[in-house]
């Protein structure tokens, strides 16, 4: 867009100074520069396209398997019938299973996994810290409290989502208030504020479980807190869609600015990017995503920590690639894990338990094997 008002002028001044000092590099012409620019763009498009294909394969696979067996050709038939007039031989139950049971569940898993992963990647960038995950800013705990409270009061599914959403934003507001003072470095204040907010709302969650009737509401709250997308409906998908996709869209749009911000406040400011407002835009976007995800699925842990690491190992730290790849990979990961959760046994394994069981050891291995490659120092 703005193609560098200062650059041509500089070039004019710079040109006559040839030959140049320093270790001589191959003289590079404009053609080579254009080629390099093109190569960089390919480097962005290819991994994103590959991950998108992977996600599509995983999603179709997830639609095809389940406790109720639907033949693959029927699944394809049912899906294509949604966009084109093809005869469907599948039974009504098969159609119900694919369209009303699996489809919302797969979509919800995709949104939750993708949202938490991209949120984690963005937070790790702005905090310049590999151990940061969406839980750190306290929004997860806030949203958990809102949901648990709604369950305690028996307010029904709409207020469950609304409650967790509202309390997630309340946690963010608390964070904002705590960090708004002038003293201290902004990064440290946000981490401290996040810990304080998170602990406070965790205590409120504990209070809710303490008050809850062990016969009726408590098991429901515990189940919800464990994290699951088993109660997925299209309504829940619609509820999660706006905050998760909205937040993710803002993060993806800011992907290159996030690169600049990840250099640190001083560098960013020197390069002409105001760090404070940008950081808050990122924080609010992540809070939206997390509140939306927790509202529909409870607390699914470790995704926001593990997936960005995994993605960074593959595509490097450039957020132009990393953010979209994290979203797609996170979505595929949760769709995959949830498919295991609902098909491995006749019973249902809580999703949050599986993600933690897989996430913690995988994270440990990743850190051990590849730390130097991705992080300068951590």
């Amino acid at each position: 867009m703005l193609d560098g008002a200062g650059a041509p002028r500089l070039r004019k001044r710079v040109r006559p100074a040839l030959p140049r000092a320093g270790p001589a590099s191959a003289p590079a012409g404009t053609v080579d520069r254009k080629a390099t620019a093109r190569r960089r763009e390919t480097a962005v498009v290819v991994p994103v396209a590959l991950t998108a294909c992977f996600l599509a394969v995983v999603a179709v696979l997830a639609l095809a398997v389940g406790r109720y067996s639907v033949p693959l050709d029927h699944v394809v038939q049912i899906l294509t019938a949604q966009i084109a007039p093809v005869p469907v031989q599948a039974s009504a139950t098969e159609q119900n299973v694919v369209l009303l049971v699996r489809l919302p569940r797969v979509l919800l898993a995709l949104l939750v996994g993708g949202g938490l992963a991209i949120g984690g990647a963005a937070l790790q960038a702005i905090f310049r810290n590999p151990l940061v995950s969406p839980e750190i800013i306290g929004v997860s705990a806030g949203a958990s409290f809102g949901g648990a409270l709604a369950l305690l009061l028996g307010l029904g599914p709409f207020l469950l989502v609304g409650g967790s959403f509202a309390c997630g934003l309340l946690a963010l507001g608390t964070l904002f208030l705590i960090t708004s003072g002038r003293a201290g470095t902004p990064m440290l204040k946000i981490v401290l504020g996040g810990v304080v907010t998170g602990s406070f709302f965790s205590a409120l969650v504990a209070l809710v479980t303490y008050i809850a009737d062990p016969n009726t509401t408590l098991p429901a709250i515990v189940f919800w807190l464990l994290g699951s997308v088993s109660t997925a409906t299209f309504t829940k998908v619609a509820v999660a869609l706006i905050p998760v996709l909205g937040g993710a869209a803002v993060l993806v749009a800011l992907r290159w600015r996030i690169n600049v911000l990840s250099l640190g406040d001083e560098d960013a400011a020197a390069l002409g990017v105001r760090p404070r407002p940008l950081r808050w835009v990122v924080l609010v976007s992540v809070a939206l995503i997390v509140a939306g995800a927790v509202a529909v699925s409870g607390a699914v842990s470790w995704v926001g920590l593990v997936i960005p690491h995994l993605a960074r190992m593959w595509v490097g730290p450039d957020h132009r690639v990393l953010l979209p790849v994290s979203f797609l990979l996170g979505g595929a990961y949760i769709v995959l894990v949830d498919t295991i959760a609902r098909t491995a046994t006749a019973g249902e394994i809580p999703l949050g338990v599986l993600t933690a069981l897989i996430g913690a050891p995988v994270f440990f291995l990743l850190l051990r094997r590849n730390r130097e490659k991705v992080w300068d120092s951590a």
Partner: protein, 252 residues
């Protein structure tokens, strides 16, 4: 063009780091800021670059300055080219990513500092000297005719110091205005037209010839310092004055 007029900065009203700093850095010249540790060199440089707002006085910049921070690690292992590209942030819209003209500017800046071959290397894997070159290239890529550098040669070995100084001389020759802070008076002797001395007794600004004397430097650092002339063995730069360097008289 960079111009400071009566600039003063302090963290509290009675505790001034410096006051009344005035100087101009015209195109094609270099100004060096010298002073002992804690004298406020970095603070002054950051005020000049627009990263800190001075309590009094004005900083006039024809455009925003390209700023080269002290060499530092990066949390993320970006490629050298991506690092340089970030210098284009002012020219790239908030929701955009750098386009081909930005890539061209970045590559040109890398060529300019002689680091084009490093473009696909990860920044943290580069040597200190290479990192400094990349950071300078990043500031050049921003397209500003004014460069502000915070101790550009600190932490580098002699060869890399020479490499950076040579590059800075070339940039001056291209018509850029440089402001740099440094711990090395000999660098100032080699490079600077004008110097700013941040001493305990106040701020002095003047030409290099006038201020980089034995007496001034000895007073500034509180240790006996002599400047000595040496023969120019043809480093490729015409110099009107005899080349001089610094000798410090260490106590026994």
């Amino acid at each position: 063009m960079l111009e400071l007029d009566g600039v003063g900065f302090g963290y509290s009203p009675r505790d001034w780091v410096f006051r009344g700093v005035s100087f101009r850095v015209p195109p094609g010249t270099a100004t060096a800021v010298l002073g002992p540790n804690g004298s406020g060199k970095t603070t002054l440089v950051r005020c000049a670059a627009g990263l800190l707002d001075p309590q009094e006085g004005t900083v006039r910049l024809s455009e925003s300055a390209g700023y080269v921070p002290q060499a530092h690690g990066s949390a993320f292992a970006y490629r050298a080219l991506d690092m340089v590209l970030m210098g284009r942030a002012r020219h790239v819209g908030v929701f955009r990513t750098p386009g081909s003209s930005d890539h061209e500017a970045a590559l040109e800046a890398m060529e300019r500092v002689g680091a084009a071959g490093l473009r696909d290397r990860r920044f943290p894997t580069l040597s200190g000297g290479e990192q400094q070159l990349i950071l300078i290239a990043r500031a050049i890529a921003a397209g500003s005719p004014v460069l502000v550098l915070d101790e550009p040669a600190t932490g580098l070995d002699l060869k890399n110091q020479a490499r950076v100084l040579t590059l800075l001389r070339e940039l001056m020759a291209d018509g850029m205005a440089l402001l740099l802070s440094t711990h090395h008076p000999d660098h100032a002797l080699h490079l600077a037209d004008r110097v700013v001395l941040l001493g305990r007794s106040g701020v002095r600004t003047g030409s290099a010839a006038e201020l980089l004397t034995d007496a001034q430097l000895s007073a500034l650092y509180g240790v006996r310092v002599s400047t000595v002339a040496y023969s120019d063995d043809g480093d490729g730069f015409p110099s009107s004055t005899p080349r001089r360097t610094i000798v410090v008289h260490y106590g026994s």
